[in-house]
Symmetry: C2
Subunit: 522 residues, 2 copies
């Protein structure tokens, strides 16, 4: 019942698959992070993972098994015990799964999801919805909220394309993004949604976490493409109408998008898909500085001319990327000028946009890095989480975080977060641009504190969250709130704003069984 294809429990992707850190990376890792090179700590075997005692009463298990597939073997529980954050992987690699769910429950229909929620509500069992399991904010951590038992509600069997009408596609939530794109290709369509987690992320998970993909500058974040959504809650269903726009009061759709399983389970999504195009074009530029690149991107975005993908690495990230890509010679040459690498991608209707972007970049004396750089970026766009496994083997601390703010506040926000992550090697890029501002995506690398690896990152992360809120950023541009950001949500939404979300939760999930501790502090 669990999908045939599963990620390895202690890392990213299928066992042994995916790109690996190249040999020439060692020099850079030694010089900048003080890593020795080679594997210093390997993950444990599945057989050695430590699980907690099963806490689901046999009677409840029987009730659930009557409406859905239920598994509670070692493999199933371990595979649903955590997401894919640095701290998740540290724990999984060490075999620490005492919090693993008591069962993995996989219903086959929206009606069966509703049945599972009804039973869990009656039996006071916590429910953690599970789509792709790619959360990096503790979104699928098996929180019990004080209860004895928790189940992982696996949506993998709800993976059908329910209908296509023009660009309107009705999908089940457990469909993985590549599966959705594969099914839509025959209709000449694509979702156009490419988060770094693309290979494993599900449609429902993207909607539940307010996802953005790498091409969302052009195609829009997931919420821009959600036409309608259905949510099963412990007290019944909410479905929003399948209409292109409405003035019928507050948008319930926008309350469900981003609800992260805390209000219920998304059982159906109607999305706007995009026509497939053949003219995709990606290219790179070396801009004289990050600030100069930001100015160009701001101008393009304000004028409605932004590329569909716009990624501007700062000087530190540019240098590290080139070195890790084996282009140390180029890095040394460029080292004297410390440029910022800009990747521009056009997926469709590039005409005037590409011409104008090139004209403006040339006017700043940016150096074209050509389509070779664009192709290199495309080839490695999903590589990050694979390489992370190698870095974890080598004893690194490696994590990312992201935010967004207005153009005016961007420089101060970048400086504040970089400062908060002091002690780590920090690279940053603009990942998405908007007419009114942009996102910043940070990668922090360092040598793992062997004595207190979790504390080392938790302190850095807390300082970064504080800095983001103080500098006028959002807690998260596309990683969601989960368990990890929940303590800061009142800083984002204000105390009364959080009270409103709590009121919604109490109305839909009065017993508090839905994804305890996520979004709202328990």
């Amino acid at each position: 019942m669990i999908r045939r294809r599963e990620q390895v429990f202690h890392g990213w992707g299928e066992p042994g698959a995916g790109p690996a850190l190249p040999d020439h990376a060692d020099a850079w890792l030694r010089e900048h992070l003080g890593l020795e090179g080679g594997v210093v700590e390997a993950p444990v075997d599945l057989a050695d993972v430590v699980l907690g005692e099963l806490a689901l009463a046999a009677r409840v298990r029987e009730r659930l098994a009557a409406v859905a597939d239920v598994r509670d073997d070692r493999e199933a529980r371990v595979l649903r015990a955590a997401g894919k954050s640095y701290l998740d992987l540290l724990a999984q690699r060490a075999g620490e799964c005492t919090d693993a769910p008591d069962a993995v429950v996989a219903p086959a229909s929206a009606a069966a999801v509703a049945d599972v929620l009804r039973i869990c509500n009656e039996e006071d069992v916590a429910v953690v919805p599970f789509g792709g399991g790619t959360s990096v904010v503790g979104g699928v951590a098996p929180g019990r909220g004080g209860r004895d038992a928790v189940i992982s509600l696996d949506l993998g069997r709800l993976d059908a394309v329910l209908g296509v009408d023009g660009q309107l596609v009705r999908l089940q939530p457990g469909l993985r993004l590549p599966e959705a794109d594969h099914a839509l290709r025959a209709r000449g369509l694509t979702l156009g949604h490419f988060p770094q987690s693309y290979e494993w992320a599900t449609v429902g998970g993207c909607v539940a976490t307010r996802s953005a993909g790498q091409a969302s500058t052009g195609f829009g974040r997931i919420e821009r493409n959600v036409v309608a959504v259905r949510l099963a809650t412990p007290l019944g269903e909410i479905g929003t109408r399948e209409v292109p726009a409405s003035a019928a009061g507050p948008a319930l759709r926008e309350l469900i998008v981003g609800s992260e399983g805390a209000f219920g389970v998304i059982t159906e999504v109607t999305l706007r898909a995009r026509p497939l195009t053949a003219e995709r074009r990606y290219e790179g530029w070396f801009v004289s500085s990050f600030a100069e690149g930001v100015a160009v991107l701001r101008g393009l975005a304000e004028d409605g001319l932004a590329p569909d993908v716009a990624r501007l690495s700062d000087e530190a990230e540019t240098e590290a990327s080139l070195a890790l890509a084996g282009r140390a010679g180029l890095a040394r040459t460029l080292g004297r000028v410390r440029p910022a690498l800009l990747i521009c991608g056009w997926e469709a209707q590039m005409g005037v946009r590409r011409t104008e972007a090139r004209r403006r970049l040339r006017a700043t004396r940016a150096l074209p890095a050509g389509e070779r750089a664009g192709r290199a970026w495309l080839a490695s766009r999903f590589a990050g989480p694979h390489l992370r496994d190698d870095l974890l083997d080598r004893g690194a601390v490696v994590e990312t975080l992201e935010t967004a703010t207005t153009w005016a506040r961007l420089p101060a926000l970048k400086a504040a977060v970089t400062g908060a992550l002091g002690g780590l090697h920090v690279g940053c890029h603009v990942s998405h641009v908007y007419p009114t501002g942009a996102s910043l995506y940070f990668t922090a690398l360092g040598r793992r504190d062997a004595d207190d690896p979790a504390g080392q990152w938790l302190r850095a992360k807390a300082a970064a969250c504080d800095a983001i809120l103080a500098a006028g950023g959002t807690l998260t541009h596309h990683h969601a709130v989960g368990r990890d950001h929940a303590p800061w949500l009142a800083g984002e939404d204000g105390p009364l704003g959080v009270e409103v979300l709590r009121a919604v939760k109490e109305r839909l999930d009065p017993a508090g069984i839905m994804n305890p501790g996520k979004l709202l502090v328990g």
Copy 2:
């Protein structure tokens, strides 16, 4: 304290100003609606309006006067007694203002708004926020919700531009749209938001009612341009962060947009503005049929090539428009082919979009009506409500209603609404297009039932609402819910969805003083 410029209490615009129905209209009105011609019923004088007794305790009035301007003279109360729907105007013209508010309270700052709400919450006085007063769905009806007293909270003094940073503009809610555009023009900006109520509508009112403007196909509905918003509630303030995008859980912003004064009062809005452009171009086409025009618009919208303004009148509306515009000769000529008039407007970056729209229209053998038709539409874009006053004088029933749905459901929705309005002369146009669907805007005209004018329209309207929901439309694409659509909201959002909105209201406004009976049935 109330603004210097006010609309006439029984109609639209300033007394005597605005376009009037031309003489040649009489023939059409006689033939199609059976109207005799000439004024059959004039509005009463202000002195003859019947008001209710003042119900606000002197002590409460004093408390309010300490934090805001307070007026309770005849003129102030009558001017805040109703919006501008057909039924509102019928009552105002007849001088029926027994429900007028007990005072018009105008605070001068966001802090003073909060003070007013606090006092009203303590004293159990109902509060009806009042921006431009242009609601056509009973949104500013002075509902008491069972209380003795109700005030109109006039936001006219909060009319400042608080800041401009690039395309990000921070505005107070009481700013009227022309005032906002005038202030922004010096910065080379416009809001690009042009509802038919443009002359009087306020920024806060547009946000509170989830407004769309005539150019929103290109510039986006108001919610697409709201970056952040502040809401004063009886229990305190909610402010959303000024960021271009966020994944920090459900979007509270989208809960405040469209809240119609039922949760609190919008005290500040940060919007994305647009650069002014010089190249505006509008033109008309006679398409061989409404269905053919819909097909062209769908194709353009799906391909990202829609004009910024796209208005496609059906055959009946085209015929009536030409006749009322004094082009009866043309109407007779065209009468044999019964074409559908399409107005396409490009506000900026028209290049490939206009070329492609023209190419596709020519391919359908559509007849160009040229820029003359475009200019005529632009010249009369805000004329409708002015002409309505003349129709009311002549004894007509005249009202509009609107909806939206997916492209596939559009023909059946149009037929269902037209059928529901049986007995009236119904014209319809597509007013906004989206990649996944379009809006339909209906104008219903007829001879007023002298014995039961309100009942005549209420029955037609109820039948139309039922038909819309049954045919998969939204209750309203841009008129909002107000009092008039509130009984149908459970049909739109479902019973549990409405419960969610009620939970939000109860958390922010436990006493229920905010705009009673609007959005949610009292």
